[in-house]
Symmetry: C2
Subunit: 240 residues, 2 copies
DNA sequence: ATTTTCTGACGAACGTGTTCGTTCCCGTTC
DNA sequence: GAACGGGAACGAACACGTTCGTCAGAAAAT
């Protein structure tokens, strides 16, 4: 596992390298991530693990963002989608799946950021979207399920990014006190509304706020139809 | 307003370096951004502009994320908040301000990403929050204004990040076809729901979708009270 | 007036992502 | 069997963010 510097043995002594494939690269990247954390997954470190040079990786992966997208998709493939077909209230089951997604993202916050930058389009992501669409179909009018799933996922991803990078910065104290100090420094003269609300602005745990946000989104989706003239798309039925 | 290029005088002609201050650094950074784009605002380029070395900047700025936060806050300070006190429907005025915020962010997408990673806490941001709180107070029950403003801004920031980085990637074609291809490749066997919806999943312009999202959020906020037991915070009134 | 202290500034260095030109190998074609 | 062509792998290099140890110069203390 820890190759260290086992003397500069020429590569020909290594018994048949796995030949370098996208799958192998992603697997190695996930291995490093689980063992040492995502921030350790650098192109150089990864290349070293695969006994090659950094430039060689670029044959299979366009850049680090793309690599992370592959890693994330792999993770999403392992997501528990059993709530999709389980019995019970569709809202509860939907929120359960969304929480799973969010939890996966929060575990490796850097991946969430990638998902926000590079829109996922891998099989793992599509699998999840399909499941969510099935759940939405149970209770949401047909015209807005497409936009709704996007909105929900977009929101969870963003929240994970925010929460996550804050965890990386580690000192939640520092962050909090930064904004907290500013709030406490607000006087009725400078920022009246902020001063009035005070620490209520930063109240609640992340879970509480996210749970509330889910309710807000679902309630809003249920009673907000899609604007007219936004659904006539050529070939929208998938039968060209 | 438009600083332009007041003759590219060599740095040695500069009469007495501005002594290097946070204000000066941020101003120079904004200058480079407006002239050459945000991606050109590197520590080295910035140091060169200020006729010093990169390391010197770290006395005033912890890292690039922090620098960008300062830049963003400066931009936010120039935001048009006149709708806050204007007459008319509070919802329309609120959305107007949110659009301003979003537009500012989309102009320099990298800044949006910073805002998502490092929570803003500068005067420009607080000014905007205070204005939004005033607008929300006109129509939203008091218990949820604090969380609502956070939710709204969080969402706009995330959307700008997503939209923006896509613009940077430039080929919206490429991006679109990536997901589009996956959608078209979906069969009723593999991903039934996705196949059924087809291109409707990617329908609508960014504006249409964001406008709809605003409606969803506001409608949801209006009818989703905050969960009980989440508002008793010590010193919540700002009077310790 | 001399000494001490401390902070802003700096030069050099490390590890990073990414690109470029070259080399090598293997399947294809004559 | 020989020559070829193309994709995979590589070595070297560039610009980047950030850190470290050092230094100068001003402020504070004596």
């Amino acid at each position: 596992m820890t190759p260290g510097k086992t003397a500069p043995i020429s590569r020909r002594e290594r018994p048949a390298k796995p030949a370098l494939s996208l799958e192998g690269i992603v697997a190695a990247a996930l291995g490093i991530m689980r063992a040492e954390g995502l921030e350790r997954v650098t192109m150089r470190r990864l290349a070293q693990e695969l006994d090659t040079g950094p430039a060689s990786l670029y044959v299979y992966v366009g850049n680090t963002a793309e690599l992370r997208a592959y890693m994330l998709d792999d993770l999403l493939g392992g997501l528990d989608l059993s709530p999709v077909t389980a019995p019970g209230d569709w809202r509860e089951r939907l929120v359960t799946v969304l929480w799973s997604y969010g939890s996966a993202l929060m575990e490796y916050p850097g991946l969430a950021q990638s998902a926000l930058v590079t829109r996922p389009a891998g099989p793992g992501y599509l699998r999840m979207v399909d499941g969510l669409l099935a759940l939405l179909a149970e209770g949401v009018p047909e015209d807005r399920t497409a936009w709704a799933v996007d909105l929900l996922l977009h929101f969870v991803t963003a929240t994970a990014t925010e929460q996550g990078t804050r965890k990386v910065a580690d000192d939640a104290r520092r962050e909090e006190s930064d904004l907290t100090a500013a709030i406490l420094a607000a006087t009725p003269r400078t920022f009246p509304r902020i001063a009035a609300l005070g620490m209520d602005l930063v109240s609640g745990t992340g879970e509480q706020r996210l749970g509330w946000a889910f309710d807000v989104l679902l309630n809003g989706i249920l009673e907000t139809p899609r604007p007219e003239g936004s659904q006539d798309v050529p070939g929208a039925d998938g039968a060209p």
